[in-house]
């Protein structure tokens, strides 16, 4: 696994020292809030509804056991015993006190972690496929490139005051698990004539003006990648709208100027950046890549797995939903669901974090991943160890067998924590998961992704949920708009609105009607919700949601 160099450590320590002094000056009254706010945001510190919130970066979602243990320590010592994993592969602490934050940052620094550029108008934490280095379908591990981009973007002098935030995601496989089409820049590792290169997409994003990213270049060679990305960001840095923050993201720039004009501007700028970069990045890449070598996989029989699979139905159900194909024989990728029915999506207690860290140490080559779907991954486990792993997970409330199911919901913090929210999202997720658990039809429904945001900023990715839910404030009451047919993968699509929104108590019944309609209309159990929706369109769902109501009204009149 990648470990930071002395340079990185010194840089983070210096930033922490500066921030500690800034906090002291704020507390003494020497700095006003207006002066302090940009400084705290640069270090991941927000002020939310009830408390401060510290957002810690988990670059490309990769954690070692020691790092996970340290996250548990922070939760226990300075928070309320838990942390919240988010869609951007960050962890958020909801209750730190201002005075403690410098100590929290120092504790993170001890394990090579920080909160730099998790906020503000900078290039944010670079995210990657959470199955990186393990997936059977992967062309190459996307993390060396993500790390290269992290090093290039951290404290990049030209890009500290961008028109707006800038998010980059990288996938190493054709199957997109990193939602690259909803990022400012999406990078896909591709192979052409036996050579590895990078397909670059630009202008995706969610928020109030959702857009699917467009292809800027089908193939950028490794030696050209940094100058190319630098060219993209610098073209936008000059062109991007600073007059209106709602129009400042690159998606709007691409939309207003057109992809062809942007491409030609990028090419022109690239001629300059390429000269300036030389070959230093290539050498750096080799050093980085060397640290992402796969662990030493063992060759062992898998009978223990087969036996448990045959005899233990709970294990089998978990194995069926939570395991994915690994590139090494005898191995599997195991997902740990942080979506126990009725619990807050993405929350993990300090104890659970330590359990997961220990499992990774005992069975998983010391590696953990955080997914944008707010779950945790043991990327490299030998199948024969899975029964033992499952047993430990079960004992700590971590063995929920629901990955990709209707209760595996993404939900942003919403109005329970977020100062920008227009409605709550967590209770809606809790109610849906609880209801479908009672109905016992989750497995029958199959793959169905619900994503919930508490305002149009779309941190909960609702536009790309198979079912998306957006919480709004309609005349002082929480109201929820539903969209259908969104898709966060390589076939990305934005969902379509069903029609008028629903009050909070109407959301679960509406979801039930949508699911009933799908079950009645699907051609067979193998046709997923999304496939059915694409085949039959919105009308049957509209009728199920509003038809009867309208019918009742006209009968009553």
């Amino acid at each position: 696994m990648y470990s930071y160099t002395d340079f990185d450590a010194a840089f983070v320590a210096e930033r922490n020292r500066q921030f500690r002094a800034q906090v002291e000056r704020r507390i003494s009254g020497a700095l006003t809030e207006d002066e302090f706010k940009p400084l705290r945001l640069m270090n991941g510190l927000y002020l939310q509804l009830h408390a401060y919130m510290l957002r810690v970066a988990i670059p490309y979602g990769t954690l070692s056991s020691a790092q996970m243990d340290q996250l548990a320590l922070l939760a226990e010592k300075w928070d309320k015993g838990y942390g919240h994993f988010t869609t951007r592969q960050n962890i958020q602490y909801n209750w730190p006190e201002l005075r403690d934050v410098p100590d929290m940052l120092d504790a993170l620094e001890q394990v090579g972690m920080h909160a730099i550029q998790t906020s503000g108008n900078t290039i944010r934490n670079v995210t990657a496929d959470h199955f990186a280095g393990a997936a059977a379908d992967e062309i190459a591990d996307p993390r060396p490139v993500a790390e290269l981009l992290r090093q290039w973007s951290t404290d990049h002098p030209e890009f500290q005051f961008l028109p707006r935030k800038f998010k980059i995601a990288v996938t190493g496989a054709e199957n997109d698990r990193a939602v690259i089409k909803a990022h400012d820049i999406g990078i896909q590792v591709v192979k052409r004539d036996g050579r590895i290169g990078y397909r670059v997409l630009v202008g995706g994003g969610l928020g109030r003006t959702p857009m699917i990213g467009k292809e800027l270049s089908p193939f950028v060679a490794l030696e050209d990648l940094l100058p190319y990305v630098e060219a993209v960001v610098s073209v936008w840095n000059l062109l991007g709208r600073r007059d209106n923050k709602y129009k400042a993201r690159i998606k709007i720039t691409v939309h207003e100027h057109g992809i062809d004009e942007i491409r030609s501007l990028v090419e022109t700028r690239f001629e300059e950046t390429r000269q300036a970069f030389g070959t230093a990045a290539l050498e750096l890449f080799d050093d980085i890549a060397a640290q992402f070598q796969p662990p030493a996989f063992r060759n062992a029989p898998t009978e223990a797995f087969d036996a448990a699979y045959e005899t233990d139905p709970t294990f089998r159900a978990w194995a069926d939903t939570n395991l994915s194909a690994h590139r090494a024989t005898g191995y599997a990728i195991a997902q740990i669901s942080l979506k126990a029915h009725g619990a807050t999506p993405g929350d993990a207690s300090a104890e659970q974090m330590r359990v997961m860290a220990q499992l990774a140490r005992d069975y998983g080559h010391d590696e953990l991943r955080i997914t944008h779907e707010q779950n945790v991954v043991l990327p490299h486990v030998h199948k024969s160890d899975l029964p033992a792993i499952h047993k430990v997970l079960k004992a700590h409330g971590l063995a929920t067998a629901n990955i990709g199911r209707i209760s595996d919901i993404i939900a942003c913090p919403g109005m329970d924590y977020c100062a920008l929210a227009t409605a709550r999202s967590i209770p809606i997720a809790q109610e849906i998961a609880t209801r479908f658990d009672e109905l016992k039809i989750e497995n029958d429904i199959g793959e169905l992704k619900i994503k919930i945001s508490g305002c149009i900023n779309a941190c909960g990715h609702h536009h790309v949920g198979h079912i998306g839910i957006l919480g709004l404030d309609r005349a002082g009451v929480e109201n929820y708009q539903i969209t259908l047919g969104g898709d966060a993968t390589e076939t990305a699509a934005l969902g379509d609105r069903t029609g008028p929104g629903f009050p909070a108590e109407g959301v679960v019944p509406a979801i039930e009607r949508i699911v009933e309609t799908y079950m009645a209309q699907r051609s067979g159990p193998e046709e997923t919700f999304l496939q059915t929706y694409r085949r039959i369109g919105m009308d049957p769902f509209k009728a199920a949601l509003y038809g009867e109501e309208a019918g009742k009204k006209s009968r009553a009149a």
């Binding site: 939310q48 009830h50 006190e97 209770p427």
Partner: protein
């Protein structure tokens, strides 16, 4: 006829803890909404707001929030203020812990 003035309280987040605070009649910052001073006169509210905003080393983001006066003290007009007064709904954290 001018629109009647919706009564208000002055609220903010505490600088050190981030917790929701309200301004009381005796100028102290208090943690419980029931102890907040309620303003029914717009001119008074504005002057008190200016004073409160100048206390930058105690409070962050000071503003006026709409309330309905009741015999148990101010009651929020909007659900956002209800959540601020109470705490999150998924964990018994924040003000609910001490209630």
């Amino acid at each position: 006829m001018p629109k009647p003035y919706t009564p208000k309280v002055i609220t903010a987040n505490a600088l050190l803890e981030g917790d929701v605070i309200y301004l009381a009649a005796d100028d102290r910052w208090v943690r419980a909404l029931k102890d907040a001073e309620i303003f029914t006169d717009e001119a008074v509210a504005q002057v008190r707001l200016l004073d409160a905003q100048s206390r930058a080393a105690e409070a962050v983001g000071v503003y006026l929030a709409d309330m309905e006066p009741t015999k148990d003290g101010p009651r929020p007009v909007h659900f956002r203020e209800e959540f601020r007064a109470k705490g999150p709904s998924n964990h018994v954290h924040g003000k609910q812990e001490h209630a």
